[in-house]
Symmetry: C2
Subunit: 258 residues, 2 copies
């Protein structure tokens, strides 16, 4: 089966509030699910605090290693919003007010409310292109292979609509989830053999626990077969279904987007 | 004010299911909230897939840089559970069945169910100490400053009870959340001045949006003052409250654990 070259990505989540546990990040999972149908593999995520040196180091490590880097957070009007400056520093580029971004923001505020701090939200590294969104006037921006997005999930998600057409696409991963009402440890040995026999797929094994079970009692296992070749995925799925039937349980199969 | 030396930490989340967006990580936030009252600063988190080379590289980068590293995931019985071997590789240590871990697991299973794959959950790098938990028989383990925990949140959380007494403690961060019914951009300028005047604290600014507002309309801002010196935190809090009153809004203050 002919396949597109691999396209990879990382996410950098910027913000003290994530690392203090005040805010539960949901943007990594949203970006992961956005990338899956595009055939782009999310291979790493990092969370760093609002410290320029930490952001710069992570941006430079990740943008060099993956096809794309998505950052979230730190693009608002307050003193702790330092992402634009950190991205500029990472690229060695001056950070300047973008005329189009200023116009977008000016349209949102009464003139007397459009203060210097709000104007700061129009600052982007020289040469960046804006990432607009339907929710907020404040844009994100793209510089080379780095996409700088908002931290507020609703705004971050809206920005992905503007990002999607800019991305190279890979061959999408196909996946099947097969749920068995068997403890993970009961199927681990034959499952390892199935994985060895199907090297074109990865098989993840995820136990789950029913609240009604005794503490720690395994209520079952969901096996997730992922791969880019539909026939290979289906062949592994058939072997898992055969394993389930040989152990006297009915496999519950779901076709996932990725 | 006399302060303990800084104690720092990182979290490494291991698992394809997190990076595919199938599973929403909640362990980073749980560990963050666990560390706060101990005075330990969580300064970085990384998510990596179930690939040994990636796990080894991240473990070695993070364990050298922070006082403690907590890993989550990959310690079950199936072929995709490779964390013990990866940690062994990171430390250059052989990974062997631990007699105490075998005994814990043997007590959990009927002899005919205690198969080789379940015995694998007793494998730890030589010299590691076990991390027990009240939910599952399968232990995590500690080797030097690295704590290897389960990925299932309920089990991970139970393991933290066994980890807590092993940790050096720092001076806990004190925090105040002050919520103002004002858009972030309206207070950004005076807030930056307050941050400059109170260098012993960090002030985070987090806008929030009411569902009833027009799309993107800011319903208000929560300011989080964090620091290790109670007087410094209270002084910054007073200035923020003064700012609020000068703008005609009543500040809503919450005393947080961290």
């Amino acid at each position: 089966m002919s396949q597109a070259p691999p396209v990879t990505a990382a996410v950098l989540v910027i913000g003290d509030e994530i690392l203090s546990g005040r805010t539960q990040d949901v943007n990594v999972a949203t970006i992961a699910r956005f990338l899956t149908p595009l055939g782009i593999d999310l291979l790493e995520a990092r969370f760093v605090p609002d410290l320029e040196a930490e952001i710069v180091a992570a941006v430079n490590a990740l943008r060099g290693r993956y096809s794309y880097l998505f950052t979230t957070g730190g693009i608002g009007p307050t003193h702790d919003d330092i992402t634009a400056d950190a991205i500029g520093a990472a690229f060695g580029l001056a950070v300047e007010h973008d005329p189009e971004a200023l116009a977008l923001l000016a349209a949102r505020y009464k003139p007397e409310d459009f203060n210097d701090r709000r104007r700061r939200m129009a600052r982007v590294p020289r040469g960046a292109s804006l990432i607009k969104n339907a929710v907020s006037a404040a844009p994100g921006f793209q510089i080379e292979n780095v996409f700088v997005l908002a931290g507020v999930p609703k705004i971050m998600q809206a920005m992905l609509d503007d990002v999607a057409p800019r991305l190279a696409r890979g061959t999408p991963v196909i996946s099947r989830s097969i749920t068995l009402r068997l403890a993970e440890g009961r199927i681990a040995e034959p499952l390892a053999a199935i994985q060895r026999a199907h090297r074109a797929v990865t098989i993840g094994s995820y136990p789950f626990f029913a609240e009604s079970m005794p503490a720690g009692g395994a209520a079952g296992t969901t096996l997730v077969v992922r791969g880019r070749d539909a026939e290979a995925v289906e062949a592994a799925e058939r072997d898992i279904e055969g394993l389930a039937l040989s152990l006297g349980v009915r496999p519950e199969v779901a076709r996932n987007p990725g």
